[in-house]
Amino acid sequence: MDKLEEQKLKSVRQQLDRLYREQTGKMLAYLVSLLSDLSLAEEVWHETIEKALCQWIDETPEHPKAWLATVARNAALDRLRHKKLSLDKIRLIQALSTEENSEFDIDAYQFPDQQLKLIFTCCHPAVAFENQVALTLHSVCGLTTDQIAQALLLSRSTLEQRMTRAKRKIKLSNIPFVIPPEKDIEDRLEAVLQVIYLVFSAGFNDERDAMLPEVDLCQEATRLAKLVSELTANDSKKSCEAKGLLALMMFTLARRAARFDEQGNIVLLEQQNRSLWDWAMIEEADQILSETLAQKHVGIYQIQAAITGVHSLAKSSEQTDWLHIEALYSLLLQLDSSPVIRLNSAVATAFARGYEMGLQKISQLEEQGDLAQYASLYSAKADLLRRLECHREAIGYYEKAISLSHAKKEIDYYQQQIELLRR
């Protein structure tokens, strides 16, 4: 292959990679609505990309997106003709066939319902949770198997197994591509938001910042939350929690640059250099949250966003309105009284009403035993004891936290605290 051709191939590849990422969610949603089969839809979409790779080297079409959409649609129609079909589908094909030779302008269609159906299917509770995450990243976000494996720290073969299992389950057990009925939608939407938040956390807790992985799961999660809130926009009640989650993630993401120092050590919120925060993002998150809270369909993500927002909007750590945060936690506990939330609420009490009172609450939690294996319980206790100048006890709890933590940076941080206390 001569040099010119090689360059051409490279540029076509790059263009197609970009289009694949951008268009996969939408195209799969559209193709599944025709074919009612996710695996088949993917096959058609991948064949289309391959066909483009072969043909675009000679000549890149004037409207690449429309080219892909048209070829994919026609390939789907071809597949349908070979299947036994219901009358509805036959009519659909007849209607679409008349346009077969015309160019299909996919940008003119947003298919909000189809896209939402695809998301609901990927996050169906009958699919194992860890497989929901992989499938959503693959089918809705358009990430490749390699990219997902890298981002989720899984081997390629494990990930492939998960996706195969998930797709097989959807097909064999006949999980429908539908927006769930009214009585189920709240639970199902919650499941979708849970997947999105897990994608975000996986990205945010990732300690490999320095390696600059090519896929930013935090950005993917934000994109998904935006998509879901847009897709549910005509129903404010459903849209509110999606927007709440979006605001929560944006508030958190805005602090990303400040959470490690130059040596890569953890910097706690209290000590963070607030000028490193992304203030434009904080303002945007605040705006989204204010509009959402005004709709008065409060939920756990909106409250958590509000808590994070109080932290983010404080000019300095000393100016943090802890009474406000404590009040928000009381509200949150009414909706979700899980042990981790109770722990965070106890910490808020410590800063709002005194360290002893917070310690007391944490000790109660410790006695109940739900968080016995949770490092943060002991580090929170150690931190308050340090502030009360009970150094020896503090060291003991930091040691306990070290023995339970799996995150290297967290362990380093506790170790540093112990050394400071020993001085």
């Binding site: 169906h124 009958a126 064999l172 057990s173 006949n174 999980i175 429908p176 539908v178 769930p180 189920d184």
Partner: protein
């Protein structure tokens, strides 16, 4: 598409149920069968005798092995089933959640074997 909904429950629960409550539960099962029939979903449903009536059979190397009891000892035992004809999995899940046994035990939803 046909789904088999198998009902797994701790049989001992039935020992603690009063006669009146027992009749009420049976009544709810009958009602469900009736509803499913009206909706054209019902294919079959049966209740099984307790697991101490079970016999396991295995043939290995042409040798027939017959043993007393179920194949596996578990906390919940197969107590009955519904065979239903549903639109899709969501529909089958909806029917499963209406089976009284789902409130104390577990319903396993399995599609029947089919060829593509």
């Amino acid at each position: 598409m046909k789904y088999l909904l198998t009902i797994y429950e701790d049989e001992k629960v039935w020992d603690t149920v009063s006669e009146q409550d027992g009749e009420q539960i049976i009544g709810r099962y009958m009602q469900l069968v009736e509803n499913l029939r009206e909706q054209g979903v019902f294919v079959a449903a049966e209740r099984l005798l307790p697991v101490d009536s079970a016999t396991s059979v295995r043939v290995r190397d042409g040798q027939k092995l017959v043993t007393d009891g179920p194949f596996a000892e578990t906390k919940e035992q197969l107590g009955g089933f519904f065979l239903v004809d549903c639109k899709d999995l969501d529909h089958a899940i909806d029917v499963a959640s209406r089976i009284p046994g789902s409130e104390t035990g577990t319903i396993e939803v399995r599609p029947l074997w089919y060829q593509d």
